[in-house]
Amino acid sequence: MKDFKYVGTRPIRHDGLDKVTGRANYGADFALPGMLYGAVLRSPHAHARIVSIDTKAAEAMPGVKAVITGDDIPENFAKVAIGGEGTFDMHDMGDNALAHGKALYNGHAVAAVAAVSLEAAQEAAVRIEVVYEPLEPVLSIDRALAADAPILHENLVEGQGPTNVAARMELKRGDLDAGFAEADVVIEREFRTPMAHQGYIEPHACVARYGEDGRVLVWCTTQGPFLVRDACAAILGLDGSKIKVISSEIGGGFGGKIPVYLEPLAIALSRKANRPVKMVMTRDEVFRATGPTSGTKVVMKLGAKRDGTLVAAHASMWYEAGAYRGSPFGAGAMCCLAAYKIPNFFIEAYDVVVNKPKVAAYRAPGSPASTFATESLVDEIARTLGLDPIDLRLKNAVAEGDNAPYGPAYGPIGLKQVLEAARNHPHWTAPLAPNQGRGIACGFWFNAGLSSSATVTLDGDGSAAVVTGNPDIGGTRVAQALMVAEELGIPVDRVRPIVADTDSVGFTDVTGGSRVCYATGMAVIAAARDVCDQLRARAAKIWDIDPASVEWEDGRAVPPDGADGRGPLTVAELAAKIGHTGGPIVGRASVNAPMAGPGFGAHICDLEVDVETGRSIVVRYTAIQDAGKAVHPDFVEGQMQGGASQGIGMALNEEYIYNASGVMENAGFLDYRMPVASDLPMIDTVIVEVPNPLHPYGVRGVGETPIVPPLAAVANAMRDATGIRFTELPLSPPRVLEGLSARTTEDRDAWRPSTYQAV
C-alpha cells in the first residue's frame, strides 16, 4: 500500500471560514436586480380531479406580474434517463412540478404566481380559484393493491387493467424449497417502515432569469447543477445549451435535492414576467411537496442450519413510490441479502403508487428498509440458536469472489474486517445497566461511479486550482485538494478547489451515490497526473533530455541516474519557469466509471428504555465501516456519524403522519421529530480500510452505507432490552409502550436480561 503524504490528514476545509462566519451563500442568499418573488398554490387534497382553474382574480391583484398553471408546462411523454441515482420520467417530473388535470397528493403544485413581493405573491396565490372533484385517496400499500382501489394513473396498465403497481422485479438463486427443507430453524416476519424525510435544514430555493435572447440563468441549491439544466430543458421544452446553472452552497440534500421542483416554475414565471424570479420553499412545503423516502412493507422468511449457516431466504417487498412510479424497490431487493452467502433465495419487489409525494433518493435509497428486515431476522436466528450475533454474521459474511445477490462477484470488500473490528471493540463487551439492551446490524450500499470532469491549472507561483462540477455537501472540496496536493507534492493550502457552474466545467453527474470522492476524485487525480506529465516534459526540456527518462517522484521531476549535476526540480521551481518552457499548464481529465467499490458497515447500539413511558434513548453507539481509504478522516467520520444519526431518527421517531383524507399532519420540525443533540451520545467511529482496486488510492464511497444498519441495530437493542421483537418503525414511545403492555406475564417471566448485563 502506497504511503501518503497528504491523503489521510485532516486539514481545515477551504470553504470553512466562509461557513463559520456566515459569509457562505446558500440557495436563499442570492438576489438579482428587479427580482420578483414566487409563490405556489398547492392542492389541499390528496387525490382530486382538477375541474377548472381561474386565475383572473389573482392576475388582477396589485403587484402580480405572472401566473402559471399546468398549461404553461407542456405535457412531455418522452422518457429521459438522466442523473446519478435512478432514471427520471420527464412526463412525471413535469406533472409533479405543476399538476395537469389531477392533483395526486396533498401539497401537489397546481399554480404559481410571481409578484413584486413575497406577500403579494402569496396573497394572489390564494385568490386563484381551483375547482376540485375530490377522489378517494390511496394512502397505503395495502389499499393500493386492493381489487377495488382507486387508480392514480389510468395509463398505468398491467394485464387486465389499470393498476397501482408500477413495476415488479425478482431475484433468485438455487432451489428455495430444498433450501428451507435443509433448515433447522425458519423465522418469518412482516416488517413496516413509514415514509420519512431527508430533513435537510436548508429549504429548496432558487433564482431564475429568462433573458430576452432565450438564455436562462438559474442560481439554486442542488446536488446536480447539470441535472437541473437538463431537467428544466426537458420539462419546459427549452434548449439546454441556453441554460446556465450556478449551484449555491447547499444546506444538506441526502438525495432530496436531486429532483427539480421550483426551478422550472421560476423559469416559466420569469419568461412570462420578463423579470428574474426568486422562489423559496417553506418548511411545510418541503415536507409536503418534495421527495421523502418510501414507506415499505417487507415480508421476509429466513432459514438456517443449527450451526448458524443461512440456507434459504424468501422476501416479498412493496415500496411506496408516492404519486409517480419510481421507488427504490429494486435497490431494496438487491441490497437486502448483499451481506450474506445464501445459496437459495427468492426476492420479489414491487413499485406501488400512492397519493403521497413522489419519493426521491434518500441516502442508500431502498436499502435501510429491506435491510431492517434481514438484520432483524438474523438477530432472531442467532437468539433462537443461542449463537453470538457477530459469529453468526461472520460465518455467513460475503468476501471477495462471492457473488452479490444481484449477480456480479465482489472484488475486495471489507465486511469480515468490519465485523472483526466490531467484535474487538470495547463497546461489544461493555456491561449494560438495567433496562438497557444491545444490538448490532450490518449494512451495504453499492456506491456509484458515473461521469465526472476535472481540470487542474498550475500557476507560476506553484499553486494550483482544481475545478469540478459537484456541489460540496460535506467536505469534498478539501478532499479533492488533498488529492491534488498528493499528486503534485504541494501543500493542501496551495490548492484552491472550485465548484464551477455548468458553463465552466465538463459534464459531471450529481453529488450523490457516494460518488464525489470516488469518481470525481479519479478525474481530479488524473487531471493532476496530467499536470505532472507536462511538468516532466518541461523538466526534460530544461535538462535537454528525453521526457520519457524523467520520473515524477514525491512532487519532483527527477532526472535519470548519471544526469550529471542536474538535481530534481520541484513543482515550485518548474512553475516559476513555465513562461519560458511552453506557457501555462492545464491538466484535464474526465471519467465514466461504470462501477464503484461497494461499502459495508456494522453498527453497535445500546438503547435504554423507560418502561413507564416507552421512551427510549441511545446511550452508546459505535459505527464501523470500510472506507477503502479515508482521504480526510474527519469527514469520513462525519458521514458515519451523520448517517447513523439519520438512521437512529428513522428507527426511533421519524414518520409521515397522515389523516384519513390524506393530509399530512406533522409537516414541521416540532412534530416530525428528528434527533437533537440531547437525544444522542457521542458516536464512536472505526474506519476500516480495505483498498478499492478501482480507485488509484483505494477510495470507496462512504456517504450512504451508514444509514443502513441503524434501523435494525436499534430494533435489535430494543429486543435485547425488552424481549420484544418490534417489526414496525418508528419505535416511538406510544408503540413501545403498547408493546410493553401487551407482554404477558409468561413473556416477562421467560425474558432474561440482556446477555451483556452485569448480574
Binding site: T21, I201, Q641, M674
Partner: protein
Amino acid sequence: MAKVHVRTTINGEEKEFLCEPADSLLGALRDAVGLTGTKEGCTTGDCGACSVLMDGRLVPSCLVLAAEVQGRTVTTIEGIANGHALHPVQQKFLEHGALQCGICTPGFIVAAKALLDTRPNPTEVETRYWLAGNLCRCTGYDKIIRAVLDAAAALRPEA
C-alpha cells in the same frame, strides 16, 4: 399600513431600517439589512438556524418581530468574530470538522457563544441540552459538541 422605522445596534454598529409591522427579525436582517448569514430553516422556532443574540440573550430571530429590536442590540453570526480574530467557537468548528453542509453552523456558533458567555465550563450533557434547539442533519452532533467543549477549554484562563 405604514412601514415601521427601526433604529437598533447590530454587531456594534447603529443601523436603521424600515419594516412591515408583521416582519420577523430574521426577514429584516436578511432582506432589509443584508446580513444573510442568519439562515431560515423553518420560521417556527424549531431549527435554530436563525439564532441571534438580542441584548445578549439567545433568540430565534424568526420568532422575534423586527420592530422589537428598536433601541436594542443584536449580534448575528457576522458579529461573532473579533475583528480579524475568529471567536474560539468558530476556530474549533474548523479544527474539529464540526460542519458538513454548513447551513446550521451560524446558528450553532451563535448559540454556543451564548452558552459559553454565561457558563464557561459546561458539561457535555449541559452542552447537548443547551444546543437541543439547533438542528443539524449532517453531523450527528458529535464533532459539534467536541468543538464547543474544546472552545470552552480554550476560553478558560489557564488554571
